[in-house]
Symmetry: C2
């Protein structure tokens, strides 16, 4: 199953012919290296060097210009000056070439203004590509390799130290340097990454597109990726959905942080999220595992090629020495990776085998193993069959790596694995290359550092959960609301939200003091009074909110006070009188992420959000189940769930409000800049917004 | 400078002669391996095998019994049955042998009750050792090696794969398996750990003793240690102080968590700390860096052998490619490791050299370096001389590892290092063993993974800060207070604390309702009323606290209510009436750690402590400066410091209260089980304890 969006990358990544603009006879130069490397690796297709000054390059016939080519290439590699590159794009488009890999630099990456001539040149190339249905990789990229067909359209020198071994990991990296680094680290560990794509400036082709192509590529099982920023939401979301549907794990190193964008940053909630938090939430939504280091990225990718992704992952640890398991338990606990105990009956059986063993988990079969290696097999069999662990980590350190011992242990362990091939088995041993290879031939992963082993095993379970997850719940149906032309006052904002089914505290907008007195009488005292003005977004900062107003005299006095506190020149529409509700204060908000559009945020009120940054975000829209999961995920959630004798609030009402808000924001379109419901009172009998700011981008 | 405490380990770790009880002719057996290994490595001293059945073992004369030995050995290795081991201890003690290394297992480690015959046997051996001034390593330990003198009193098989290279790292590990693992990992990386001590059951010699000996050992510069639990506070504290004074970094992997101890766990505060938090605080106090994995432990230890420990550590990053620095910046930011920008003038100079370079930091000198390698030298020189970075990380990946490139880069970088030898230089390159060795010969550390490089560089600054730190401030002088025989009521607890200069909310203990009315009138309304009983520790849980009592009628009604709420059988001394103070609610507490004695805890009130576990702990006593640092370290500290327009509280008063409390607890001795001041109101004009529980261990 392929989609048009991602299939359009096939000429880039698996072409049958390639032209090299700026081809060089020098195999170390940027225009010479791809030719030399493809010749060395035996590219199956035709290589057509283009160079006005030579008739032959590296033993191949060279062509003076694109017009002289004997056939239309599937892809053109461009390694000429920026000016020539722009011209070449037009020529390639006119010829009907479908893909361009552009090494040439000197575009947006050297123009901090974003509007200088360099950026304009890049925009022009993109426009040319789009006009001709041509995909453009780069500019300023290190290119591509696809070792399956010997295609090496890259000037990376990293192949000098060796080509990738066979394997099923694809690398998608914005940064060429990091992509090469990753490839080199993997190759030196004997790990195959036959496909590498670097996207550089991403004028057209993004990391998302590449992930999508790999999700559909039958030669790729695991996608390892590096990104500094996400440029297009649609392709990334579609790609991650495709990868998940194909049960292909994506492990990503996402680096770099920046402000969420000028418009969104104006809103209170947005200032607390930042786009990295949004990206993080999106990646989590699709089961992408974020790696924190190169080692972790490689470890997880390699383990994932086993294609065992447990659901309800549990860890069983077996050692030859009691203490060793403690370290592993600590790491697992920190990751919330369960280490359930062995069943009582199995524990008794193991005690029967070795009286001083520790049979619980971590299981210590003690140094008795040196006298009787069959114990390793019997203990491990019991852990797998009776303990039911999906992940088994043997911490055997140098004993397990010693040649004589390793041979006997392998024999025992291999039999267990053959009976239970659906589990993950990792040997934490210190072994030379030969012993390591022998373990790996028997289907065991060898990882010297037990901490790294636990982290990678845990990631397999996260993939498993993502692949097994039910589809997200349907977002609630919310009536469409017409946004006003400009930011409305609080009463109007609440009216719009109420139309969308978002409960607000009972209240009335009052134009004069008599209306206010009457409204207060209707609600019953005490009441809250707030100044009503479209020009005042944060009322409490000017003293525009009075709480605990106890009687009619208080209402009259309060009305006068609020009028007096209005800043010079602010439009004042009167006063809002509301029933005074109490409950756990929450904040629900919407900010607009420049990439992912409206994003909902949830946190507890006041200090929780402001100081502790205990906030969760998710892109809109989403359903009630997802909203409830968000609410339960914050650190302060016990406050809502009834900690220490408190009464639990109505989580369902709060989740419904959050889900409805997400749909409201999604439907409202890009003119909705932000929503800030602060506070929302979560009570045992419902959730009510007590204040609402709805920020609109002016229509002009 | 040596101390008696640690010098007593010299016969264990650097003996001139050794007897082996249970010596074996088989070099793979527990009693044979030490002899075989020492013979192979050429132990300088005399080896005396003891075995009743043989006259010669592995080519050495063997002795039938201890009585037959030709001289008194400095140390005896015991590898016999548990029963024989107990007897041997008595015999060795009587002979005046000063040190025993006991491999024999079957003592406390197999007795979960702690009082069974196995534990009794171990206690007996300890008593024998103490009676004769003999140090006992183990039992159930893997032994010791000291490669400087070829002393290998260990049955670890890990030397089969090679002896340690020369080096200056000592390993102190409770776990024999982990110690061997660490040694093997280090050796395989070419790192020298000539000294390894494993402590096993720690009947006598603890990790602290070993750290102390290494702190005084002229052959050791860096101490790498692994501990599951700390058994004796005194030796550890003295050892860590000695290591810090000798500017020897200690890097520790401390694993395992357990409850803080039965008595302390009864107290509210203790339940939130746990002994791992206490250990963590003690380690931090002495500048010990805790490693989270074996890799990290080895990385930090190796880098520390350079003996460059910057104060005010800053990181300068240089790359050949823009993107690569982002990953490093992320890691550094997460560690709070500053990456200050280059000075403007230096940036302009670098821009002059390479127009499209990124001169800020991370500094990207671009692929121009491939055309002109002198750029590496000029850029790095500018970073060191003008940027002033104490740590320099070059992320050069496979380019920096390529043979041709590496030679040219080394030449440039070596010149910089020779001019500025006081900085730390790390090359993140992918290089083979030869290129790596060449870099290292020039004084550069090679670390493939940049994340690991940043973590290790950061640790060097933490050592630097610890070595440069001023001595702790003197704890305040607090009058000694005589503890009552049993847990006092609240009023009495407060009186005791007030004697120690700990401010409490103005209040009066009232035996009847008329006294209560009078007291309330004196304080002015509103007041707080609390039930007064030594039997009720947590009053609010039974509704025993009334706040906001507004008038005399309220006092009368409240008195009756509180009397009615007292549980059946509780002694009730009346009611406490207090002025109602408001401020930021804090909790100050004391718990008793079974190892480190009284420990003070500080946190913000209510949810902060209970749900967010935002608590800081420190062993008692300490001064006001340390108390203030604790207060400022919690996540919620901005609430005290005047966040978002709030008024700042009187931090000095709060710190003084915390420091005084720590001295009070220290002076009170072991009968003080716990103190719980909850809440303490921190106000802009002082801090006042509004409730106090002082838990005493009954004198009987």
């Amino acid at each position: 199953m392929t989609t048009a969006r991602f299939a359009s990358l096939t000429p880039l990544l698996a072409p049958r012919s390639v032209a090299i603009l700026g081809a060089s006879s020098d195999p170390t130069r940027i225009g010479g290296r791809p030719i030399a490397t493809m010749l060395k690796r035996g590219f199956a297709g035709r290589i057509m060097p283009v160079n006005p000054n030579r008739s032959e390059i590296q033993g191949l016939p060279a062509y003076a210009s694109l017009a002289d080519l004997p056939e239309r290439p599937d892809v053109a590699v461009v390694a000429v000056s920026p000016t020539q590159a722009v011209a070449a794009m037009a020529e390639l488009g006119a010829m009907g070439v479908k893909a361009v890999i552009m090494f040439t630099a000197g575009f947006t990456e050297i123009d901090p203004t974003g509007v200088g001539p360099e950026s304009q040149a890049q925009d022009e190339m993109l426009a040319t590509a789009q006009a001709h249905g041509m995909r453009l990789l780069g500019p300023n990229c290190l290119g591509v390799f696809n070792d399956h067909i010997g295609f090496y359209a890259t000037f990376s020198a990293s192949m000098e130290a060796g080509f990738p071994p066979k394997g099923r990991i694809g690398i998608a990296s914005q940064s060429g340097a990091f992509g090469s680094h990753l490839f080199s680290v993997a190759r030196n560990r004997g790990i195959g990454t036959p496909l590498m794509v670097t996207t550089g400036n991403e004028a057209d082709v993004t990391i998302g597109d590449v992930i999508g192509w790999m999700a559909e590529d039958p030669e790729t099982d695991v996608i390892a990726t590096y990104a500094e920023g996400i440029r297009h939401a649609d392709s990334l979301l579609e790609a991650l959905a495709a990868a998940r549907a194909a049960r292909k794990p994506v492990v990503m190193m996402k680096v770099g942080r920046s402000v969420i964008g000028r418009s969104a940053a104006r809103s209170h909630t947005a200032s607390l999220t930042g786009d990295d938090a949004v990206t993080d939430a999106v990646l989590a939504e699709f089961g992408v595992v974020r790696a924190r280091s190169t080692d972790e990225l490689v470890d997880i990718a390699v383990m994932a090629t086993r294609r065992i992704y447990p659901v309800g992952n549990t860890l069983g640890v077996i050692t030859l020495s009691g203490g060793a398991g403690v370290l592993i338990s600590d790491v697992a606990e920190q990751l919330d990776f369960p280490l359930p105990p062995m069943p009582e009956r199995a524990q008794a059986m193991l005690k029967g085998l070795v009286p001083f063993c520790a049979p619980r988990n971590p299981v210590d079969c003690t140094a008795q193993v040196f006298n009787d290696t069959t114990l390793i097999g019997r203990f491990t069999e019991s852990m797998v069959a009776e303990g039911g662990y999906s992940s088994v980590l043997g911490f055997f350190t140098q004993a397990g790596g010693a040649k004589s011992m390793a041979a006997k242990m392998r024999q025992e362990l291999r039999a267990v694995r053959e009976r239970h091939p659906d589990r993950l088995y990792v040997m934490s041993v210190i072994a030379d290359a030969e012993v390591t290879r022998e373990y790996e031939q028997d289907g065991f992963l060898v990882m010297e550092d037990p901490t790294r082993a636990v982290v990678a095993l845990h990631a397999m379970g996260r993939f498993g959960e993502a692949f097994a997850a039910s589809p997200p719940s349907a977002p609630p149906i919310v009536p469409s609301v017409a946004l006003p032309d400009a930011t409305p006052n609080e009463a109007e904002a609440k009216r719009l939200l109420a139309e969308a089914g978002i409960a607000v505290v009972p209240e009335a907008a009052c134009g004069d003091v008599e209306q206010a007195v009457e409204a207060a009488r209707g609600f019953g005292f005490p009441v809250v009074m707030k100044i009503l003005s479209p020009d005042i977004l944060h009322k409490s900062e000017i003293g525009g909110v009075l709480v605990g107003v106890r009687d009619e005299a208080g209402v009259r006095e309060g009305f006068a006070t609020l009028m007096a506190r209005a800043p010079e020149g602010a439009r004042v529409d009167g006063v809002l009188v509301a029933r005074q509700v109490s409950g756990v204060e929450c904040i629900l908000g919407i900010a607009r992420d420049p990439v992912f559009g409206p994003v909902a945020a949830f946190g507890l009120g006041g200090i929780f959000v402001e100081i502790l940054q205990d906030v969760v975000v998710r892109r809109c829209p989403f359903g009630v189940l997802e909203a409830e999961a968000m609410i339960r995920s914050i650190k302060g959630a016990p406050l809502l769930l009834g900690a220490r004798g408190r009464q639990a609030v109505d989580i369902a009402a709060l989740a419904t409000m959050l889900a409805r808000l997400s749909v409201f924001a999604h439907q409202a379109g890009p003119r909705l800049a932000a929503i800030d419901l602060n506070p929302v009172f979560a009570t045992p009998t419902g959730a009510f917004a007590a204040d609402a700011v709805l920020e609109i981008v002016n229509a002009d």
